[in-house]
């Protein structure tokens, strides 16, 4: 049995969780048509449950284990992991999978520690099913590590956007098993005490945009975005940035494109001053046309792009803006 910890939001199972389900189903199929189960922990509206069950059925999940305890309403990694441990032990799970989000990674780390087994983070492929050998991203995605999971159950997180969520050949109507997890006081110490509202978080504009202007380290600083923002406006697009830009505090996190940010699929992606690390590529590779502007002709973003301009974005982008202004009148 393969058990997937599924994260949910207001709309149902998250996109990366549906990717993890697809990934887990492929392991199940390759290792002799094993059963696929899901475990849900945390708050859920009754409307949301129907959507989630339908999504899990489409993904081929046969049984959904739903932890019920009011103490799980606030996020608490240890308690949520304790719940997943209970579901894993009740079903004798062979493999436990989550998505490589901050929560998925944190919960799987607790789970692997509690079960005293290895954990493989950010897995992108299964190389062998017996013994289970996976490839996972290391060095920030610049290299892969082939890792053997000797201990059982095998615990892993799947790298964001490593696979596309696809429906199972045979959709199911999952059975729902509600269970009360065993929680100790110690499990509940590190829970979210309260939430604070962060700044405007408009990721929907980015994921749905037809034109995205991307900016990376080449922008040079927080004050290096004026021309890029003008280009974005002239094209009626949305600005998206690489991880280094948000890490350095040049732009807010919600503008980030990549494995730990949004995945975009615009008609055109203009990647300006972005080297194109795998982490970023995971979020932008679905763009129909990619135009890279970069000083380095060997940068991965340039070699993977459809079109490229070799040059400094601070010279190229103003020239494009000028050309656009002339033609648009």
């Amino acid at each position: 049995m393969i058990l997937v910890f599924v994260e949910t939001d207001g709309q149902g199972a998250t996109e990366t969780s549906r990717e993890a389900l697809t990934f887990a189903r492929e392991i199940a199929e390759r290792s002799g048509d094993d059963a696929l189960n899901a475990v849900l922990v945390g708050p859920m509206s009754s409307d949301g449950t129907d959507v989630i069950l339908q999504q899990l059925g489409e993904a081929g999940v046969s049984v959904v284990h739903r932890a019920q305890d009011e103490r799980l309403s606030a996020y608490c990694a240890a308690a949520w992991a304790a719940s997943v441990v209970d579901a894993a032990q009740a079903t004798a799970a062979r493999v436990i999978v989550a998505t490589g989000t901050p929560r998925g990674s944190e919960i799987m780390a607790h789970l692997a520690t509690r079960l005293d087994v290895q954990m493989a983070a950010n897995v992108v492929a299964v190389d062998e099913t017996n013994p289970l050998t996976v490839s996972r991203q290391v060095m920030g995605g610049s290299a892969l590590e082939e890792m053997r999971l000797n201990s059982q159950p095998a615990v892993m997180t799947v790298a964001g956007h490593a696979t596309e969520p696809t429906p199972a050949g045979q959709p199911t109507t999952p059975e729902v098993v509600v269970f009360s997890p065993t929680l100790s006081d110690a499990d509940l110490v590190a829970r979210v005490a309260r939430s604070e509202v962060s700044q405007v978080d408009d990721t929907a504009a980015l994921t749905g945009a037809r034109v995205v202007v991307g900016a990376g380290r080449g922008a040079g600083g927080a004050d290096g975005f004026a021309d890029l923002l003008e280009l974005t406006e002239l094209l009626g697009g949305v600005l998206g940035v690489s991880r280094v830009v948000t890490s350095l505090g040049w732009r807010p996190h919600h503008e980030q494109v990549g494995q730990t940010g949004s995945r975009i699929s615009p008609d055109v992606y203009l990647a300006c001053g972005i080297s194109g690390a795998i982490q970023h590529w995971a979020g932008c590779s679905s763009a129909k046309t990619i135009i890279a502007i970069n000083t380095d002709p060997d940068a991965p973003m340039v070699t993977k792009a459809h079109y490229a301009v070799i040059g400094d974005l601070h010279e190229v982008v103003p020239a494009i803006n000028e050309e656009l202004r002339q033609r648009l009148g």
Partner: protein, 257 residues
């Protein structure tokens, strides 16, 4: 007074092209520089801020080769007051081994009457990206843990930790002693001062050898992602390429004229 232990890891700079060693067990480190990850630079900064704010001490620790002393000295140069090298062949150590080695040092300091109230680590190492050493360490020590934290603040016998959650900023309040794994982005690490660098050269590094039979990481080999052949069409160089870019945008249909 809060005594803070901050754990760092010497890692290769991976912004450029990576080469693997002949046996593909590690990366070829002959032509690369070494550093610590941005998460850990932020953890060091937070450790210094917490220690100074409470008249405590910030101690920096690493598990690794003797060469890791360079990274320990960098942390002293910005304000840590003591350093511990847990000397080990890091390639043979998996995340559970690293956690056990750190826990050994923490327990020894506790027994010696110089306990650490707060332990900070980076959220994940820049090279192995395991996402689990902090959690495993906390379980070894029986302490609460949170990961993905941007800022920490010690208020009496509690630490208030803030990090990005799916619906805004999540605030955790943990009783000390506690373990917190830091994600970059919450604060700006400081640069070393000249007196700081001088002090870093003089500060002795406590070296310990862990008595651990490592279970290892499960690594079979490293490999580089397959290179796709490039089909890029270069539109031009510099500002002169602007008309060609706009022509293309018109052709694709995102610019109406």
């Amino acid at each position: 007074m809060t005594n803070v232990l901050v754990c760092i890891k010497r890692v290769p700079e991976t912004s450029g092209q990576i080469l693997l060693s002949d046996d593909a067990q590690t990366i070829d480190g002959r032509h690369v520089g070494y550093t610590v990850s941005p998460h850990e630079e932020c953890a060091v900064e937070l450790a210094i801020q917490v220690a100074r704010g409470t008249d405590g001490e910030a101690t920096v620790l690493t598990v690794g080769s003797e060469e890791s002393v360079a990274q320990l000295r960098d942390a002293i140069a910005v304000g840590c007051s003591a350093a511990v090298l847990v000397e080990a062949d890091i390639d043979r150590f998996g995340p559970a081994d690293v956690a056990e080695a750190i826990a050994g040092v923490v327990k020894e300091h506790e027994a010696a009457g110089t306990p650490f109230d707060l332990i900070l680590l980076g959220n994940d190492a820049a090279d192995t990206g395991d996402f689990q050493v902090g959690v495993r360490l906390a379980y070894q020590l029986g302490r609460p843990v949170v990961t993905g934290i941007s800022t920490v603040e010690v208020l009496g016998d509690r630490v208030v930790a803030r990090g990005d959650g799916p619906d805004g900023i999540e605030v955790f309040e943990l009783p000390l002693p506690a373990v917190v794994a830091i994600q970059e982005g919450g604060i700006e690490p400081r640069y070393p001062s000249v007196p700081g660098r001088m002090k870093a050269k003089r500060t002795p590094v406590e070296t310990v050898t862990p008595e651990i039979e490592p279970v290892g990481s499960g690594r079979v080999r490293l490999k580089l992602p397959p290179q796709q052949p490039s089909n890029v069409e270069v539109l031009g160089e510099g500002a002169d390429a602007a008309p060609a870019v706009v022509d293309l945008l018109v052709k694709i249909g995102v610019v109406s004229r």
